[in-house]
Symmetry: C2
Amino acid sequence: MAVKVVVLVGGVGGAKLAYGLARVLPPEDLTVIVNTGDDFWHYGLRICPDLDTILYTLAEVVDKSNGWGVGGDTVHLLDALRRYGEDTWFRLGDQDVATHLLRTHWLREEQTLTAITARLAAALGVRVTILPMTDEPVATMVNTVEYGEITFQEYFVRYRWQPTVKSLRLDGIEQARMTDAVCHAIEQADIILIGPSNPWLSIDPILSVPGLRTLVESRPIPRVAVTPIVGGRALKGPAAKLMVELGYNPSPLAVADHYGSVINGFVYDRSDGQLSMPLLHTAGFETIMKTENDKIFLAETVLQWIKDWHSIQA
Amino acid sequence: MAVKVVVLVGGVGGAKLAYGLARVLPPEDLTVIVNTGDDFWHYGLRICPDLDTILYTLAEVVDKSNGWGVGGDTVHLLDALRRYGEDTWFRLGDQDVATHLLRTHWLREEQTLTAITARLAAALGVRVTILPMTDEPVATMVNTVEYGEITFQEYFVRYRWQPTVKSLRLDGIEQARMTDAVCHAIEQADIILIGPSNPWLSIDPILSVPGLRTLVESRPIPRVAVTPIVGGRALKGPAAKLMVELGYNPSPLAVADHYGSVINGFVYDRSDGQLSMPLLHTAGFETIMKTENDKIFLAETVLQWIKDWHSIQA
């Protein structure tokens, strides 16, 4: 019997696990639910950085050194914008803009982000289901000491996540609705995973879509997060820095604690020793994914471990 | 005393004369009024082919072999669109898209096309005034034997002006208003020129903006068209083919006749011999502009000839 897996992800870190899962599961059994709190408008284009990262990764066209953007992409358009005197703090690759352009064009034609994402994925030969967390616009707003409240992309890209974060706010989240596709995927899932993404910046927006957290918690299945924190540091990006600024100890336990009853299992990195977390199934694996094989191995290991602790028939 | 020159133009042909004029006149004395009937929406971008051709030509970044587009431009975005399964009949250069993107972005911010054009020109260091014929959208619709009524770009680019034209229609022209800038330029002009552009496809839309033709005709100054037809053929594009299809003899005289009382002077190519046109000042010059020097020479020659037959103080 097929095991239906749903994985919640943000950008680069989550994309690695999603890639591994896509390599070990039949495409029809994997659904990737993606954070859209990072989405923003830029020069009239609707840009969805996490959706793009997942799309490019699963389509195997991603820039492997960055983990985002299209491999080998050029920036001639961006150079031309600069010649027009524009501030080009957000990298717009020439091939990448084709994605933004089509998405924006179709959004203006009143197609849903879910439908558009499916269309883009199909065109690139991706058979895994990629779902935005919601079709409504949600914007992660970052309240900083230095600049006051700024958009996520200003915080993350323009200021390279250097500002000190006081708090986070999800603009538009009250109006966001869980899509039928997301609801169906969660309801049908045999396993729900949370990728090694930033819990506050990438996963919280997904779980904050009204009804989504409750639906996940209601499912009597393995719900397992993979740590984004190893040895007190983030594998990538601002997770550890942010945790300190928000008053947490940057540790796997604090991440597991933050997820609370959303999860019943947690995978930490084996370099962190033997961690015991009350009420949770836990395991320490090699979670740092550098190579293609690392991604496949972690996906396989996590799935096998879950099957061992739970009575799922593969 | 300064001689204020206004030139009405379409794309490549008109751009050549505009370039020559820009090289021989102080920038503050030259205004180029550009056809916008070719403008269209494509993938959510507002594209203004004639404005772009004039802009790139005067900014000296134009692709010199085509006469349009940015020199040395790449098409990586277009290739990516093709990978998404899109029909890429309209060439979108990577640098060129920066222009479309900014223009569209600013249009959506309710800036006028006139203001946007000025902003783009200033950023590229163009000091000559470039004005769209109107700020309202006007679409030249081409009624063809083969495909029925199609947009100008479908006719011109997609079908490479091969369809047989039955008639032309300017969609939206009734709602178009002459801008203050166009009105002022014409009212202040000492000389009005019409570039060697397609009279039906490029110049008629300009003259059809309500009030514009009457205003031009009312000015007691030299109003001179330069022929786009030499030796019974168009220098470029469909002018001669179109004239035949619309029932005209493709000759300089038919062009002059078409302009009627809009002009009081006409420049034909000297290879067409000695042409006499009742009521018009006429002259035969070398009108074929291949080199930079050809453009400057024609501009100088026409201006000098006009000054000789009219009492303008330079």
